[in-house]
Symmetry: none
Subunit: 224 residues, 2 copies
């Protein structure tokens, strides 16, 4: 169970990390809004705990950015207890709001309550191109109605390209997102899996229409 904590107070970060790690959660931390967003995109946490009063992007802006992209549960932790603040955060897409100071037990219980809800709730976009549809939440790929089997690596690669649709994705980005941060230079496997994706998804694999190559740079998925 991966959990992302964003707070600009190092002491709070440390306390939360210790508490949550002790309970078996896999904790990642960020100390400003931009770092929080980056981390969310990179590690796909199962739940996000975020402080409102951060420098750079505010917590509200982070929540809105997240919601443009995913339905991960977001729990807000804030020093502000005015009802207006709560309304703003909840309506921006947060799922729960706890005011400081709070007890660790309560936070843990609220995290449990939120993660209980997750599996049934995801409502991610379905991407369509040609006669192919991809349901990112359900991990389902169909082509002309028939289901298409993808291996884990093929799926991760497709996922990264789809989440960055119409944008160029560099080889380096693809490698680190799909194979891990220690992989930065291609020795052939990127080309290999791209080829397999095309074989499974493109109407004419030898003349790609959706999964395009940008020579010397990387790849780009275009939906039409």
């Amino acid at each position: 169970m991966k959990i992302l904590i964003a707070d600009d107070d190092p002491q709070m970060l440390r306390a939360l990390r210790i508490t949550l790690t002790a309970r078996g959660y896999d904790v990642t931390t960020a100390s400003d809004g931009t770092a929080a967003l980056d981390a969310a995109i990179r590690i796909h946490p199962d739940i996000v705990v975020i402080d409102l009063g951060m420098p750079g992007l505010t917590g509200i802006e982070v929540i809105e950015a997240l919601r443009g992209w995913t339905q991960i549960p977001v729990l807000v932790v804030s020093g502000r207890s005015e009802s207006w603040d709560k309304v703003e955060a909840l309506d921006a897409g947060a799922d729960d709001y706890v005011t400081k100071p709070f007890s660790a037990d309560e936070l843990l219980a609220r995290i449990r309550a939120l993660s209980r809800r997750t599996p049934a709730a995801s409502n991610e976009p379905v991407v369509t191109f040609g006669d192919v549809t991809v349901d990112l939440a359900a991990h389902v790929v169909t082509r002309a109605g028939a289901s298409v089997r993808l291996t884990p690596t093929e799926w991760r690669l497709l996922e990264v390209l789809l989440r960055n649709h119409d944008r160029l994705v560099t080889r380096e980005t693809l490698l680190t997102e799909v194979w891990g941060p220690q992989y930065t230079t291609d020795t052939g496997y990127l080309r290999l899996y791209l080829s397999q994706l095309r074989k499974k998804l493109e109407p004419e694999p030898s003349v790609p229409r959706y999964l395009l190559t940008e020579a010397g740079m990387g790849y780009r998925f275009v939906s039409q």
Copy 2:
């Protein structure tokens, strides 16, 4: 949007009814735990707001009874602000906990946040596939009319897969849902219990038709 409010304080009931009705909710009220359960069974509300300190059945008991039967969002309203009370209610199955006094705006925002999470009406209490029927609420599995005995672990595993029907459920999700958040990597028991479920439920266990494997990723239940 139907909403059920349970509170033994007539004044609170009246205030909430007015506030919520004015926002367009279809409000039903109950003034003790038994009446709340009856009303929930009768009208199938989309969300339940419940006070903990009621005569007869306590709020906690009502939540537990509801959870044996449905996944409706439950928001607890209580005069008690001890973290222990919150933990108890949330772990009993409540989704949110607000302490009195609270502002109407905050309550409304929390109700909106909860109803946003409500999955579509896909929460079928009874699932059938092949000659097998599974009653999620009653914990009953039958095959060709005869009852099938499942161990607690087998049941939890089946439940998670059924509640996510047609979607891929990752190994990690299954492990944390069935065995707890500290279990994230399989050392063999997941495969073992899947095998046992297939033996009990699949027409031909060696060629699974409903409980499918996605190598390297997880499992998926498909109803046909």
